[in-house]
Protein backbone atom coordinates (compact mmCIF):
# COMPACT_ATOMS: atom_id res chain seq x y z
CA UNK A 1 0.00 0.00 0.00
CA UNK A 2 1.06 3.57 -0.63
CA UNK A 3 1.05 5.98 2.32
CA UNK A 4 1.11 9.75 2.66
CA UNK A 5 2.30 10.79 6.10
CA UNK A 6 1.58 14.33 7.32
CA UNK A 7 3.64 15.71 10.16
CA UNK A 8 1.92 18.70 11.74
CA UNK A 9 3.87 19.14 14.97
CA UNK A 10 7.38 20.17 15.96
CA UNK A 11 9.97 17.64 17.06
CA UNK A 12 9.20 18.42 20.71
CA UNK A 13 5.70 17.01 20.37
CA UNK A 14 5.13 13.33 21.16
CA UNK A 15 3.09 13.15 17.96
CA UNK A 16 6.20 13.76 15.88
CA UNK A 17 8.02 10.83 17.46
CA UNK A 18 4.89 8.69 16.91
CA UNK A 19 4.88 9.76 13.26
CA UNK A 20 8.47 8.61 12.88
CA UNK A 21 7.94 5.24 14.56
CA UNK A 22 4.84 4.75 12.41
CA UNK A 23 6.73 5.67 9.23
CA UNK A 24 9.51 3.23 10.14
CA UNK A 25 6.93 0.47 10.63
CA UNK A 26 5.33 1.31 7.27
CA UNK A 27 8.58 0.64 5.45
CA UNK A 28 9.44 -2.37 7.61
CA UNK A 29 6.12 -3.92 6.58
CA UNK A 30 7.07 -3.53 2.93
CA UNK A 31 4.72 -0.63 2.15
CA UNK A 32 5.66 2.50 0.28
CA UNK A 33 5.71 6.10 1.50
CA UNK A 34 4.78 8.34 -1.43
CA UNK A 35 5.63 11.54 0.43
CA UNK A 36 6.10 12.85 3.93
CA UNK A 37 4.49 16.27 4.07
CA UNK A 38 5.43 18.70 6.80
CA UNK A 39 2.75 21.30 7.50
CA UNK A 40 1.71 23.66 10.29
CA UNK A 41 4.19 23.29 13.17
CA UNK A 42 5.58 20.22 11.44
CA UNK A 43 7.83 22.51 9.39
CA UNK A 44 9.83 23.11 12.58
CA UNK A 45 10.82 19.44 12.56
CA UNK A 46 12.74 20.20 9.36
CA UNK A 47 14.95 22.80 11.04
CA UNK A 48 18.67 22.10 11.17
CA UNK A 49 19.11 24.56 14.02
CA UNK A 50 17.69 22.63 16.94
CA UNK A 51 19.85 21.83 19.96
CA UNK A 52 18.70 18.80 21.91
CA UNK A 53 20.03 17.79 25.34
CA UNK A 54 22.37 14.79 25.40
CA UNK A 55 20.00 12.68 27.47
CA UNK A 56 17.03 13.23 25.15
CA UNK A 57 15.99 11.68 21.85
CA UNK A 58 16.80 13.98 18.95
CA UNK A 59 13.65 13.31 16.96
CA UNK A 60 14.38 15.92 14.29
CA UNK A 61 17.77 14.33 13.60
CA UNK A 62 16.18 10.89 13.50
CA UNK A 63 13.58 12.12 11.01
CA UNK A 64 16.29 13.54 8.81
CA UNK A 65 18.29 10.31 8.94
CA UNK A 66 15.17 8.25 8.15
CA UNK A 67 14.34 10.43 5.15
CA UNK A 68 17.85 10.44 3.70
CA UNK A 69 18.63 6.76 4.33
CA UNK A 70 15.37 5.70 2.67
CA UNK A 71 15.53 8.37 -0.05
CA UNK A 72 12.04 9.57 0.83
CA UNK A 73 10.34 12.57 -0.70
CA UNK A 74 10.10 14.98 2.23
CA UNK A 75 8.25 18.16 1.38
CA UNK A 76 7.93 21.11 3.73
CA UNK A 77 5.10 23.53 2.95
CA UNK A 78 6.80 26.76 1.97
CA UNK A 79 4.10 29.13 3.25
CA UNK A 80 3.95 27.40 6.64
CA UNK A 81 7.75 27.33 6.79
CA UNK A 82 8.25 31.02 6.01
CA UNK A 83 5.85 32.18 8.70
CA UNK A 84 7.64 29.96 11.24
CA UNK A 85 11.14 30.97 10.21
CA UNK A 86 12.33 27.86 8.39
CA UNK A 87 14.08 28.94 5.20
CA UNK A 88 16.26 27.40 2.53
CA UNK A 89 19.04 29.20 0.66
CA UNK A 90 16.70 30.62 -1.99
CA UNK A 91 14.15 31.99 0.46
CA UNK A 92 16.78 33.41 2.81
CA UNK A 93 18.20 35.28 -0.16
CA UNK A 94 14.82 36.37 -1.43
CA UNK A 95 13.75 37.77 1.93
CA UNK A 96 17.21 38.85 3.05
CA UNK A 97 17.25 36.70 6.15
CA UNK A 98 20.42 35.62 7.93
CA UNK A 99 19.76 31.96 8.57
CA UNK A 100 19.46 29.08 6.18
CA UNK A 101 17.97 26.45 8.44
CA UNK A 102 16.10 23.94 6.30
CA UNK A 103 17.82 20.62 7.03
CA UNK A 104 19.32 18.60 4.17
CA UNK A 105 16.98 16.11 2.60
CA UNK A 106 13.93 18.40 2.80
CA UNK A 107 12.45 20.56 0.07
CA UNK A 108 10.22 23.59 0.32
CA UNK A 109 7.17 23.41 -1.90
CA UNK A 110 3.44 24.13 -2.01
CA UNK A 111 0.30 22.39 -0.82
CA UNK A 112 -0.13 21.09 -4.35
CA UNK A 113 2.46 18.48 -3.41
CA UNK A 114 0.18 17.23 -0.65
CA UNK A 115 -2.71 16.81 -3.09
CA UNK A 116 -0.46 15.24 -5.70
CA UNK A 117 0.63 12.66 -3.12
CA UNK A 118 -2.95 11.96 -2.05
CA UNK A 119 -3.94 11.24 -5.63
CA UNK A 120 -1.13 8.65 -5.87
CA UNK A 121 -1.60 7.02 -2.48
CA UNK A 122 -4.01 4.62 -0.81
CA UNK A 123 -3.84 5.84 2.78
CA UNK A 124 -3.14 9.16 4.46
CA UNK A 125 -2.36 9.58 8.14
CA UNK A 126 -1.57 12.79 10.00
CA UNK A 127 0.28 13.29 13.26
CA UNK A 128 -0.14 16.60 15.05
CA UNK A 129 -1.30 18.50 18.08
CA UNK A 130 0.52 16.97 20.99
Amino acid sequence: MKFVINVLSSSNAPATRRALRFAQAVLAAGHEIVRVFFYQDGVLTASNNLVVAQDQQDIAKQWQAFITENKLDAVVCIAAALRRGVLDQAEAQRYQREAVNLADGYQLSGLGQLHDALQQADRCISFGGE
Binding site: N6, L8, Y39, Q40, A79, A80, R83, G110, L111, G112, L114, H115, D116, L118, Q119, C124, S126, G128
Partner: protein
Protein backbone atom coordinates in the same frame (compact mmCIF):
# COMPACT_ATOMS: atom_id res chain seq x y z
CA UNK B 1 -11.40 9.27 -11.37
CA UNK B 2 -9.78 11.64 -8.89
CA UNK B 3 -9.73 10.69 -5.22
CA UNK B 4 -11.92 12.86 -3.04
CA UNK B 5 -11.07 14.55 0.25
CA UNK B 6 -13.35 15.59 3.09
CA UNK B 7 -11.64 18.32 5.07
CA UNK B 8 -13.04 18.67 8.58
CA UNK B 9 -12.23 22.10 9.95
CA UNK B 10 -12.51 22.33 13.75
CA UNK B 11 -10.59 25.45 14.74
CA UNK B 12 -12.05 28.78 15.73
CA UNK B 13 -11.13 31.58 13.31
CA UNK B 14 -9.18 33.81 15.71
CA UNK B 15 -7.61 31.15 17.92
CA UNK B 16 -4.43 30.95 15.89
CA UNK B 17 -3.52 30.21 12.29
CA UNK B 18 -4.99 26.70 12.32
CA UNK B 19 -8.25 27.68 10.69
CA UNK B 20 -6.50 29.61 7.90
CA UNK B 21 -3.99 26.81 7.30
CA UNK B 22 -6.83 24.29 7.01
CA UNK B 23 -8.55 26.52 4.49
CA UNK B 24 -5.35 26.77 2.46
CA UNK B 25 -5.51 23.02 1.93
CA UNK B 26 -8.97 23.44 0.45
CA UNK B 27 -7.93 26.31 -1.81
CA UNK B 28 -4.96 24.29 -3.07
CA UNK B 29 -7.25 21.39 -3.98
CA UNK B 30 -9.48 23.82 -5.84
CA UNK B 31 -6.53 25.31 -7.71
CA UNK B 32 -5.73 21.83 -9.00
CA UNK B 33 -9.37 21.03 -9.76
CA UNK B 34 -9.50 18.20 -7.22
CA UNK B 35 -12.69 17.11 -5.47
CA UNK B 36 -12.66 18.43 -1.90
CA UNK B 37 -15.55 19.11 0.47
CA UNK B 38 -15.33 21.01 3.74
CA UNK B 39 -17.22 20.18 6.91
CA UNK B 40 -17.09 22.86 9.58
CA UNK B 41 -17.39 21.19 12.97
CA UNK B 42 -16.80 21.98 16.65
CA UNK B 43 -15.27 25.47 16.96
CA UNK B 44 -14.80 25.44 13.19
CA UNK B 45 -18.45 26.45 12.80
CA UNK B 46 -17.46 29.84 14.20
CA UNK B 47 -15.58 30.56 10.97
CA UNK B 48 -18.95 30.93 9.25
CA UNK B 49 -20.40 33.44 11.66
CA UNK B 50 -21.52 36.67 10.08
CA UNK B 51 -20.55 40.16 11.27
CA UNK B 52 -17.26 39.30 12.91
CA UNK B 53 -14.71 42.07 13.23
CA UNK B 54 -11.21 40.60 12.93
CA UNK B 55 -9.74 44.05 12.38
CA UNK B 56 -10.29 44.59 16.14
CA UNK B 57 -7.54 42.00 16.58
CA UNK B 58 -5.47 43.44 13.74
CA UNK B 59 -6.12 40.17 11.92
CA UNK B 60 -6.63 39.51 8.26
CA UNK B 61 -10.25 38.67 7.55
CA UNK B 62 -10.59 34.92 6.98
CA UNK B 63 -13.96 35.41 5.33
CA UNK B 64 -12.17 36.74 2.22
CA UNK B 65 -10.62 33.28 1.80
CA UNK B 66 -13.93 31.61 2.61
CA UNK B 67 -15.73 33.67 -0.03
CA UNK B 68 -13.05 32.60 -2.53
CA UNK B 69 -13.89 28.91 -2.14
CA UNK B 70 -16.60 28.71 -4.84
CA UNK B 71 -14.31 30.60 -7.22
CA UNK B 72 -11.76 27.82 -6.71
CA UNK B 73 -14.42 25.20 -7.38
CA UNK B 74 -14.87 24.24 -3.73
CA UNK B 75 -18.62 24.30 -3.44
CA UNK B 76 -19.49 21.42 -1.17
CA UNK B 77 -19.54 23.14 2.19
CA UNK B 78 -21.20 21.60 5.21
CA UNK B 79 -21.71 22.80 8.76
CA UNK B 80 -22.49 20.57 11.74
CA UNK B 81 -25.91 21.57 13.00
CA UNK B 82 -25.34 20.20 16.51
CA UNK B 83 -22.18 22.29 16.89
CA UNK B 84 -24.08 25.44 15.89
CA UNK B 85 -26.85 24.62 18.35
CA UNK B 86 -24.65 24.07 21.42
CA UNK B 87 -22.97 27.39 20.65
CA UNK B 88 -26.31 29.18 20.55
CA UNK B 89 -26.00 29.77 16.81
CA UNK B 90 -28.75 27.55 15.45
CA UNK B 91 -30.76 30.50 14.16
CA UNK B 92 -27.91 32.78 13.13
CA UNK B 93 -27.40 33.54 9.47
CA UNK B 94 -24.15 32.18 8.13
CA UNK B 95 -21.68 34.27 6.17
CA UNK B 96 -21.38 31.49 3.57
CA UNK B 97 -23.77 29.07 1.95
CA UNK B 98 -23.16 25.81 3.79
CA UNK B 99 -25.48 22.85 4.11
CA UNK B 100 -26.46 22.18 7.73
CA UNK B 101 -25.90 18.50 8.48
CA UNK B 102 -26.81 16.22 11.36
CA UNK B 103 -24.62 13.44 12.77
CA UNK B 104 -26.01 10.78 10.45
CA UNK B 105 -25.33 12.88 7.38
CA UNK B 106 -21.80 13.49 8.65
CA UNK B 107 -21.25 9.74 9.04
CA UNK B 108 -22.41 9.38 5.45
CA UNK B 109 -20.11 12.17 4.22
CA UNK B 110 -17.14 10.45 5.81
CA UNK B 111 -18.02 7.19 4.12
CA UNK B 112 -18.47 8.91 0.76
CA UNK B 113 -14.95 10.34 0.56
CA UNK B 114 -11.65 8.58 -0.17
CA UNK B 115 -9.75 10.60 2.39
CA UNK B 116 -10.76 12.47 5.53
CA UNK B 117 -8.43 15.13 6.94
CA UNK B 118 -9.39 16.62 10.28
CA UNK B 119 -7.57 19.78 11.22
Amino acid sequence: MAKSVLLISRQAPWAGIGAAEALDIALAAGAFDLPLSILFMDDGVLQLLDQQQPQALEQKDLSANLQALPMFGIEQLYVAQHCLTVRGLADNPLALTAERVDDQRIQQLIRQHDYVMTL
